[in-house]
Amino acid sequence: MSVSNEAASPAGPSHFRAIVRNPYSVLPNWVYPAFVAVALSAFAVYSIWVVFLNNGGRYGPYLSPFYSPEITLRLGDFLIPPALWVAWAPLAFRGTCYYYRKAYFRSFFWHPRSCAVPEPRNRPGSYRGETGFWALNNLHRYALYAITVQMAFLWYDVAAQFLYRGSFHVGLGSLLMLVNVVCLSGYTFGCHALRHLAGGSQDCFSCNRARFALWKGVTVLNVRHDRWAWVSLFTVVLTDVYIRLLMLGVLPHGTWA
C-alpha cells in the first residue's frame, strides 16, 4: 500500500477542504472572532479618545481607572495627557496576555480564525508563530510587574473615595469603582505568568507548601482568565463613562455623586 508523502491538507487535493461546521453552536464559526475583533477595536478607539483627547478623569471623589495614578506634567503650556502615563501598562499587559493572544491571533490575524479551518496562505515554511517579533510576548511577566503596581493605586483610589473629605461617602460611582477593581484584580491575579512565578516553576509542589498554596490560589482565578479579561475590560469602560458623564453634567450633580 502506498503512502503519500504530503499531509492531506493544505498540500493535498481540494476535496479534503471540508466545510467545517461549528461544533459548539449553530452560528457560523466566524461569528465569535468577528465579535472579538469588533469589541477589541471599539475598546481601542475609545481608549485612544480618552488618552489623547482628554485631560482628566476626576469628578469629586471619583477617579477614572484611565487616570490612576494621577500624574500632571507640563511641557511649557502643553499638558502631557495624564492618561498617557497610565495606559502603557494595561496595554502591555493585555497585549501580551495569554488569553488576548488567543483572541487577537484568531480574530485579527486568522491564525486560525477557528479550529480546523483553512487560514490565509503564507509562503510554505514561512509561518513563525511566536518566534521573531512575537517573541516579545515572552516579556509578559514584566507587564505583570507594572500592572501590579497600578492595581495598588486603583485599590487606594477606591478606599480614598469611600473616605472623601474626612467622612464616609458612598454613591453609584463608589460601587462601580469597587466592582471595577475587583474584576481587574480577578483578571490580573489569575495571570498565567503569575501562576508560573507563584509556584508553577517548581518541579516539586510538596517541597514548598506556601508556594503551592499560592499556585492553587492563582489557578482558581486562572481557569476563568478569559472571562475575567472580558468583564474587566467592560467595567473599565463603564466606570470611565459614568465618571465622564458626571464631569460633562449629563448626569445631575448630587443625585448620583
Binding site: 503512502v3 498540500a11 488567543k102 479550529c115 515572552n138 516553576s201
Partner: protein, 253 residues
C-alpha cells in the same frame, strides 16, 4: 433495540491522496449509536473494502481519530444524535493519507524519539530506597499521562495542519510529554534548550484548539504549553534573570 424511521446519511471519504471522493451511505440509526458504529455498519453491509482504524470503541485507544463534519474527533466518542442532517467523515488532514480514513501517523513516533527520556539525577539513580512522591506531585504529572496518543491535537494544531511546520514544531502532544518530564520532581534533565530549539515551543500561539479537541480533557495549553513557555522565558527571555545568573556565576568564579 429500536430502529429509527429515517436512516442516517453518512458521507465518507473514499480513496487515496491523489484521487478520492466523498461517498454517501444510508445507515439505519440505532439508539446510542456513535459515528464509528455507522462507519462500521457501512463497512459490514455496503463497503467491505472501507479502511478505518479502530480498536477499543471506548475512547481509550485513540485509533479512530478522524474528522466529523470537518472537526477532529474520535469516531467512537461522537454520538450520531449530536449531529443534525448529513454526517461527513474524513481522515485527519494533518497527516499523509494511506487510504480512506486511515492516515500515516508515524511522524509522531519519530518526534517522540527525539525527546530525552525520564532521567533522574545521579544520586537518585543509585538510591536503593524506593522513591516517595507526594500526591500533589503525582496529580500534576498524571494529567499529562492520561494522553492516549490519538493525535487529534496534532491534527488540529494549525502550525502543523495549515502551515506544515513539522520541521520546526513538535506539536501539542509532545509539549504534553515534555511537560510530564520537565515537571516531574525526580527528573534531572533540563529540556529547555530543546524546547526553544528543535521542539519549537515558540511556534505555538496559544489558540487552544488542541485543548478543545482533547478527548481526555487534558489542559494542554494551560497546564503544559504555557508553563513550558514560561520556563523557556526564564532561561532565554528574562533579562533580569539573565543578569542575576551572570552575576551569580561571576561571584562564584
Amino acid at each position: 433495540m429500536t430502529v429509527s424511521i429515517s436512516p442516517l446519511k453518512l458521507s465518507v471519504f473514499r480513496g487515496e491522496a491523489d484521487r478520492g471522493e466523498m461517498v454517501a451511505y444510508s445507515v439505519p440509526v440505532r439508539e446510542g449509536m456513535v459515528v464509528l458504529d455507522a462507519v462500521l455498519w457501512a463497512q459490514a453491509n455496503l463497503a467491505p473494502d472501507l479502511a478505518v482504524r479502530w480498536n477499543c470503541k471506548a475512547a481509550k485507544c485513540g485509533s479512530c481519530a478522524a474528522e466529523v463534519n470537518g472537526f477532529p474527533r474520535l469516531l467512537c466518542k461522537s454520538p450520531v444524535d449530536d449531529y443534525a442532517g448529513e454526517i461527513s467523515v474524513r481522515p485527519m488532514a494533518a497527516f499523509p493519507l494511506i487510504r480512506d480514513l486511515v492516515t500515516d501517523v508515524s511522524w509522531n513516533y519519530e518526534v517522540n524519539k527525539r525527546i530525552p527520556e525520564f532521567t533522574p539525577p545521579e544520586a537518585d539513580q543509585h538510591d536503593p530506597e524506593p522513591w516517595r512522591m507526594q500526591q500533589v506531585d503525582v496529580d500534576r504529572v498524571i494529567e499529562f499521562r492520561k494522553c492516549i496518543e490519538c493525535f487529534l491535537c496534532q491534527d488540529v494544531c494549525h502550525v502543523l495542519r495549515n502551515h506544515g511546520r513539522t520541521d520546526a514544531y513538535f506539536g501539542p502532544r509532545f509539549m504534553v510529554r515534555m511537560a510530564s518530564l520537565e515537571m516531574h520532581p525526580k527528573d534531572g534533565l533540563d529540556r529547555r534548550p530543546l524546547l526553544k530549539g528543535d521542539a519549537g515551543v515558540g511556534f505555538c500561539n496559544i489558540t487552544k484548539c488542541c485543548q478543545e479537541v482533547c478527548p481526555e480533557h487534558i489542559h494542554i495549553t494551560d497546564n503544559a504549553i504555557i508553563p513550558l513557555k514560561e520556563r523557556t522565558a526564564d532561561a532565554y527571555f528574562d533579562p533580569i534573570r539573565a543578569l542575576t545568573r551572570r552575576l551569580g556565576r561571576r561571584s562564584a568564579g
